[in-house]
Amino acid sequence: MSNCALRASDLEVIRGGNAVLSGMSFEVKQGEVFALLGGNGAGKSTTLLTFMGLLQPNGGIAEVLGQSAAKEPVAVRNQIAYLPENAALYDHLTAWENLTYFLSLSQVRPDQASLSAALDSVSLPIQSRGKPLKSYSKGMRQKVAIALALLRETPVLLLDEPTSGLDPSAVEDFHNIIERLAKQGVAVLMVTHDLYGACHVAHRVGILRAGQLVEVFEADEDGSIEIATVRDLFLQQQAA
């Protein structure tokens, strides 16, 4: 039985007459963290939205646990926790209410202890949890969004610039969470500008340019990726 959680095969997406993804193929296994690095307009977010079934591919296929995202978007979304770049949560609700509401929508009913544990794991200050999100900083909002993604307990996690707006300590905490989830078998696809973070947490790092995967780096036996090599190629691709 294949342990492939995400599969993009010859994926092609055209938006506004431009090919955003052109013939992209890759797989992410269960328990694997795959980071996609790329500049602006490389097609990073488009890749995630296609896996969510929010964008219809013009060619190829995007599968989540063997299901086509284009054909069965709702079923696919139930297997995915998605963390957008800007934490898309409700300003009029508190952290508790945001978590409870969105989890109810995905048919998850966590107890108070699980909610607290999730918020503890992202280091959201206790005194802020009962306040509406309109009083939160960008980083605090991001923490709530991460907690929400964790509480979904889905087999697949899609992350769009997840550490954007987080302080260094929160970034470190976040990386620990991702590593823990991967050990639990969760497949993580992360798109980011953060080269160092990607190399630190991912098992594989792909360089994306103009909708094509130009290179994939794998972690060596001790689990690390040579940052300098990735950086050089990344910068080279950016300059090209």
Partner: protein, 480 residues
């Protein structure tokens, strides 16, 4: 289904916490309650006034002393239209048309004393009635509440989050609609309770009409709810959504009903009152003057009557021939008057049909017609009142004419002005009018009201279907 409830609940929670939405909601409820209170006191006052005026008119009429019956024919009597209990919700054309008719011989007077004419131009534009609130203001307030219901999710990117939780587009739009519908229901409630209270005695099926009317308003408000959410789903920004919805409101609520009335007036113009009066007078003149027994128009009547009773002279008839001429004259006059009245009513109904045909372009035109029909304040109810008043007038006049035939001889009648004594001999005992039954208007029943409202009701059904289809289409087109 649970997802729909959750989304609806959160939308209501958002409104509760948002100052703007909360202000709109409170305003909406306040307007609804105020309209109920104001209308209740205004309609009750008017109804009491009419009852008092009717009682006074009856008392004055019955207090008349012994008189010659034909003097009573010309003395006349006022009858008043009793207000429908559902006029507290929709006073319909009640305030525009007359509520009383002066009944006298040889004439069909127009209804007079319209409230709008008494209160000036502002009342004609639209009074602060519950119907005005429901038909005109409530859609506007629903727009202010709901124009951003979906665009807000797009602008704040929360649509990604919702979709990411597995929420389907249809569930999202139905949830948003449910919340808005709940608000509409809340605004409808005080007005329903008012109607429920005013139809407590269950007369003429008005309670059933209230239920039908409420159902009609629910359909009407549902149309608006679905349109608002659909537009919000189809457009990208809240500003676009608000502009389009306000435009839609102005066209369908403000302009279209006025265009409909103006077009109906132009395409089926009514003859002027003076023109009609001249035609009626001309037609009646050719039928003779029933005050003059020598009028040649009654020559046939004289010869036939003499032949029937086998006598030579009208003085030998066993009754007062002058009374018979008055009786037959009234019969002929009434036939002419009824024919003209019928023509006028048909003309008014034609105009109404033309105006109603605009309901395919505006649900407001449909609900207006439906609401008035069910409230018992529509054109058909006014015509019903005029017909009932005319029947009463005819019976009253002919009763007096029969008295003139039976209670005096022709000689006595002809000599009635010769002396006081002669006058006294032609006077009829006042018990004749004291015992006369008072005018009581029996309203149309629920089935008749429902029938009158069926066409606009059907049009609203079509509007609801179209709005529902639009919502489903916008759900298919909705993307984050």
């Amino acid at each position: 289904m649970k997802t729909i409830y959750l989304i609806a609940f959160d939308e209501l929670r958002y409104w509760r916490r948002s100052k703007t939405a909360w202000t709109v909601l409170v305003t909406l409820l306040l307007i609804s309650v105020c309209a109920a209170v104001v209308s209740n006191s205004e309609v009750s006052r008017r109804a009491d006034e009419r009852l008092a005026q009717q009682a006074e008119a009856d008392a004055i009429f019955q207090a008349q002393p012994d008189r010659h019956p034909h003097r009573m024919v010309h003395y006349g009597h006022y009858v008043y239209r009793t207000a429908s209990p559902l006029a507290v919700i929709d006073s319909g054309i009640d305030s525009m048309v007359g509520t009383s008719v002066f009944l006298e011989g040889h004439r069909q007077n127009s209804a007079t004393f319209a409230a709008a004419r008494e209160t000036g131009l502002l009342a004609r534009f639209g009074s602060f009635s519950p119907a005005f609130t429901l038909q005109t203001l409530l859609p506007l307030l629903l727009i202010l509440c709901g124009f951003a219901s979906v665009t807000r999710e797009k602008e704040n990117k929360t649509l990604y989050q919702l979709v990411g939780q597995g929420v389907g587009n249809s569930s999202l739009l139905f949830g948003k609609s449910l919340a808005l519908w709940f608000v509409a229901l809340l605004a409808l409630l005080p007005l329903f309770l008012l109607g429920f209270d005013s139809t407590a005695n269950e007369e003429f099926g008005f309670r059933s009409s209230l239920y039908s009317m409420t159902f009609g308003y629910l359909i009407y408000l549902s149309i608006w709810v679905l349109l608002i959410v659909s537009v919000s789903a189809l457009l990208r920004t809240s500003a676009q959504s608000l502009s389009v919805l306000l435009g839609l409101w102005i066209i369908t609520v403000v302009l279209m009903p006025r265009i409909a009335s103006a077009y109906a007036g132009v395409s089926a113009p009514s003859p002027s009152q003076i023109e009609t009066n001249l035609r009626v007078a001309e037609t009646m003149r050719s039928g003779g003057d029933s005050h003059d027994i020598e009028d040649t128009a009654f020559a046939d009547l004289r010869s036939l009557t003499l032949a029937e009773y086998d006598v030579e002279k009208i003085e030998d008839l066993p009754f007062n021939y002058r009374g018979l001429v008055a009786f037959r004259g009234e019969e002929a006059d009434t036939e002419v008057l009824t024919q003209f009245a019928q023509e006028r009513m048909e003309q008014e109904l034609r105009q109404k049909q033309i105006a109603d045909s605009f309901s395919v372009l505006s649900p407001v035109v449909a609900i207006r017609s439906f609401s008035m029909a069910l409230a018992g304040t529509a054109l058909q109810d006014h015509h019903h009142f005029l017909r009932a008043a005319e029947d009463y007038r005819y019976n009253m006049v002919q009763t007096f004419n029969r008295l003139q035939m039976a209670e005096m001889t022709l000689a006595e009648d002809l000599a009635r002005n010769d002396s006081d004594e002669s006058g006294r001999r032609t006077r009829v005992d006042s018990s004749a009018w004291t015992d006369m039954p008072v005018f009581e208007l029996r309203s149309l029943d629920h089935a008749q009201r429902w029938q009158a409202g069926s066409n606009p009701g059907l049009t609203m059904g079509l509007w609801l279907f179209a709005s529902f289809v639009l919502l489903l289409l916008s759900a298919r087109r909705l993307h984050a």
